[in-house]
Symmetry: C2
């Protein structure tokens, strides 16, 4: 195997990248100026060395605690619970949530042997216990595991005075077409209908 083949093999492991795209990418790197290839290799290594999970919220950061956790202009009474650090990036780039985050780092999944204590649920309860949080927005994915995890967390919080739990709404995607929406989404969307 040449180093080109090796690189294609590694690139093809990236999400959404097949063998053909990986080959095009490798040739692009080969054809581009060496500055580009050097920077690419450099930042892959540097990112792995410098970016760590925030000790408070669990999202990726170069400084600990992260910029979001220490930002006093944000609403520290609302915490949005997500499955992965990437979900934080998605919500942040959409600029829709004014509060702070909590990354679970997974979902409860008995089949895979993942229980509540294997993901960052105890740390979430600990944060809630500090007393500043008033609303927990459960933003796990609308899948069986995501729903189970949300339900489990909601049950844990139930007894805590002054803390409400909410879940992201389910429904039609904006700009979507009824024809292409699955039955489950349609049903949830109908059940959650709002007055106009």
């Amino acid at each position: 195997m040449t180093s080109l083949d090796q690189l294609v093999r590694l690139l093809a492991k990236l999400p959404g990248i097949g063998r053909k795209s990986a080959t095009r990418m490798a040739y692009h790197i080969l054809n581009s100026d060496s500055d580009y290839a050097d920077s690419l290799a450099h930042y892959i290594t540097e990112m792995r060395e410098r970016i760590k999970p925030c000790s408070v919220c669990g999202s990726y950061t170069e400084v600990d605690p992260c910029d979001i956790c220490t930002d006093q202009r944000r609403d520290h009474s609302m915490v949005c619970v997500v499955e992965t650090a990437q979900d934080v990036a998605v919500l942040e780039s959409a600029r829709v949530f004014p509060g702070i985050y909590h990354v679970l780092g997974g979902v409860i999944s008995p089949i895979d042997g993942v229980g509540p204590d294997d993901i960052r649920i105890p740390r979430l309860l600990e944060r809630i216990g500090e007393g500043q949080i008033r609303e927990v927005v459960l933003a796990t994915n609308p899948t069986v595991e995501g729903d189970t995890t949300a339900l489990y967390i909601a049950r844990q919080i139930e007894g805590i005075e002054g803390v409400t739990t909410t879940r992201l709404a389910l429904g039609l995607p904006v700009g979507g077409d009824l024809e292409y929406v699955d039955r489950m989404t349609l049903e949830r969307s109908l059940r959650g209908r709002t007055q106009v």
Copy 2:
């Protein structure tokens, strides 16, 4: 900019990769074990250092001349002329051509100031001059520049005794649908119709 943002910016420059895919790729690298990230960075650097153009055919290789040029089981009387080194890889993985290759490293394009001597046409004529080549298969892309380049090369070879020039056939792609084929391709396909 964090190292994560830097990496996303660099990955988004790869062909076919937008900002969203680049972000997913960067997070995948961040989430994977450090062996993967290390290998990826390593092979990007190693590939750039070790892979060079073959001094004979111009395709990418770690040994010079390349394995194809020195393979005596291949037909050295047929040379397939392509635009890029990647085209060689495409033809090789399809295992359809038994001869050897010549990579032009571009196409004639007056608008971009690229003349015949700026791409590896003189080297092609030099190789033909060595006397072993009997057929030159022009496999430049069926674009204005590719056709111009093929025509120019064909003209240069015209006078050489015992050397024929051919061009890849144009027509419908196998498995294609008439409905989705453009008018030009349909016309060429009709003109090049064969008896059944």
